[in-house]
């Protein structure tokens, strides 16, 4: 492996470079049951929508609790439709998964920071687990559109949890999978595939999203190997707009300066992994 010696990737875009935000009605037009507890939902929003990979929406759905819930945009389709990959964990996710086709939600977005395309000489290596897979569909679509290829490592408990495996293959990615029960690919954790992937990539640029344990392990390996690494962090969110301060992560601000609690909805959810104080902030949701 020849890790990059460059400190990090392209600078994070400032708010001014990010697409405009709006609170729009969106209609559910199709549902695809991916596993017993996960669905891919396709929505059409009432107005135009521009989204960069890694950004998320705060979605409000009838019967889904008081506060909106954050979901990564999974994919953005040419006709302005978008998809969400949703896994059932509680009242909000359940309400989305029970929404009849034709039903409406209100969707506030796009919010937060983005996964940046890697510099031309680096190969993207993506590590995703569970619904952390979601943001990488749009990311790989953009990679493919700019003629780039990369390695995608997917992890889950069982084969059905390796969501949208085929979508990544359609974008020309080198997909490698791991399942904890051995029903697909490597028997064990997805991070076991990382060393080989980094070696195959030559000069890798890492991207990760998924359970905290997975992110920690990827961050450790990336730091040890000196590989640049962007990570998307999931926190409970009250507003998604930078105002409740409920979603914070202890990290170094992008502008430099000492560590402080940064808002994962605004300074994140995508962070340069090396700016996060993992030891101080491995916290439970």
């Amino acid at each position: 492996m020849t890790p990059s010696t460059e400190a990090a990737g392209p600078p994070a875009p400032s708010r001014a470079d990010l697409p405009p935000r709006a609170d729009q009605a969106a209609t559910l037009v199709a549902r695809n049951q991916l596993s017993p507890d996960a669905q891919l939902l396709r929505f059409e929003s009432e107005g135009p929508l521009r989204v960069l990979p890694g950004q998320f929406a705060m979605v409000r759905v009838g019967g889904g609790g008081l506060l909106r819930r954050p979901y990564s945009y999974c994919d953005l389709l040419d006709d302005g439709a978008f998809t969400l990959l949703v896994k059932e964990v509680g009242v909000g996710t359940r309400a989305l998964m029970n929404l009849p086709v034709g039903g409406e939600v209100s969707s506030l977005g796009p919010l937060g920071t983005t996964f940046d395309l890697p510099p031309p000489d680096l190969t993207p290596v993506i590590v995703a687990g569970g619904v952390g897979i979601a943001p990488f569909v749009l990311f790989c679509r953009r990679l493919a559109q700019s003629g780039r290829r990369g390695i995608v490592l997917l992890g889950g408990r069982r084969r059905p949890d390796l969501y949208l495996w085929d979508a990544f293959e359609r974008f020309g990615m080198d997909v490698r999978v791991a399942s904890e029960d051995g029903s697909a690919g490597h028997h064990g954790l997805v991070t076991a595939l990382l060393d080989a992937a980094l070696a195959d990539a030559g000069r890798p640029f890492l991207y990760s999203c998924g359970p905290t344990g997975m992110l920690l392990r990827v961050a450790e390996l990336a730091t040890a190997a000196g590989v640049p690494h962007q990570v998307s962090i999931e926190r409970r969110m009250g507003c998604g707009m930078g105002c409740c301060l409920g979603c914070v992560v202890w990290a170094r601000p992008p502008s430099g300066g000492p560590e402080e609690y940064l808002r994962s909805c605004t300074e994140g959810p995508v962070f340069d992994a090396e700016t996060i104080a993992w030891d101080r902030d491995p916290h439970p949701l």
């Binding site: 709006a22 609170d23 008081l66 506030l108 009250g238 105002c243 409920g246 609690y261 439970p284």
Partner: protein, 314 residues
């Protein structure tokens, strides 16, 4: 449009010497430093913005988890993470001033001296129209709620702020005080121009599977529709029991909710948690209030304050 409507219907209110074009104020701690929602909220419907609570120095706040949803409400223990008064004035205030909104600075101190010092600094600042004195935050170790529960302490905090500034002074009362009207009377004597209420109600939730508290701080403050009937009762008590104008808040989601507060005696209202849920709340509430005034043939919205009738609804 706010202007068009004002030709026939006056939606303006006056409270603590402030002339607000609409009775709706963004509640402290739920609207950042004021410009965060500019792309999605209808600022035309917002009469003033109370910014995130300020201390002299920046504060790191409580560790996460800081929020938890409860039935029709939310708990928060943010612990007043904030940038400090100097960075607020240098970096945050210019952006919100550009929006042309009336800015209310919300201050908190860990000592009486700190309240006084903040008042003096704000008095010199251009673009701050009033000071809301948070003597009711449930999530900080010292100051905050301690001041708000004891009428003497509340009066002393109000007094030091009053001495430090010519700006209108609006103590924000704690729902934990045993007699809020008594606190209101004391802060009135100490020079307050109005009071605002309620701040969040100390509350907690437990994850029974892990047997751990939902919030790292264990206790947080409850806000949202869950607290509204309590808040309405408190505004009623304070409005009846003191001569100070009252700014009411607690779970307001629409015009009908806002009207409850106005009818029991509030001169203006604040909206917090429900703006998170739906930034369209400003437009909807404003339009609903205007429609109510027309339906009830009220020419000026301010005439509704304190007009609850006796007897019960039929």
């Amino acid at each position: 449009m706010a202007e068009e409507k004002s030709a026939t219907l006056d939606m303006g209110v006056e409270v603590a010497g402030l002339r607000l074009p609409t009775p709706l104020i963004a509640a402290s701690g739920t609207f950042g430093y004021g410009d965060e929602y500019r792309e999605v909220a209808d600022y035309e419907c917002i009469g003033a913005i109370s910014v995130k609570g300020l201390y002299l120095e920046p504060r790191e706040g409580c560790p996460p988890p800081r929020i938890w949803e409860t039935p029709s409400g939310m708990l928060n223990a943010i612990g007043l993470q904030e940038v400090g008064i100097r960075r607020f004035l240098a970096e945050k205030l210019p952006a919100v001033r550009e929006l042309g909104k009336i800015v209310i600075a919300n201050i908190c101190g860990s000592s009486l001296e700190e309240y006084g010092e903040l008042a003096k600094i704000l008095d010199q600042a251009e673009g701050v129209s009033a000071i809301e004195v948070n003597i009711s935050c449930p999530n900080v170790a010292e100051g905050g709620i301690e001041f708000g529960c004891d009428p003497d302490m509340a009066a002393r905090a109000t007094e030091v702020v009053r001495r430090g500034t010519r700006l209108p002074v609006i103590p924000k009362l704690s729902p934990s005080a045993s007699d809020m009207a008594a606190v209101a009377r004391r802060v009135a004597e100490a020079g307050a121009d109005a009071v605002s209420l309620i701040n969040t109600i100390p509350a907690m939730a437990v994850d029974v599977e892990t047997r751990r508290p939902r919030l790292a701080n264990v206790v947080g403050g409850l806000s949202g529709p869950a607290v509204r009937p309590i808040a309405v009762r408190m505004v009623w008590e304070v409005a009846r029991g003191s001569r100070l104008p009252v700014i009411g808040m607690g779970g307001i989601a629409n015009a009908e909710d806002a009207l409850e507060f106005l009818l029991v005696g509030a001169a203006a209202v604040q909206i917090g948690t429900m703006n998170f849920v739906d930034p369209g709340v400003w437009r909807r509430t404003f339009d609903g209030l205007a429609a109510y005034c027309r339906r009830h043939e009220v020419a000026a919205l301010r005439d509704l304050t304190g007009t609850m009738r006796s007897g019960t609804a039929g």
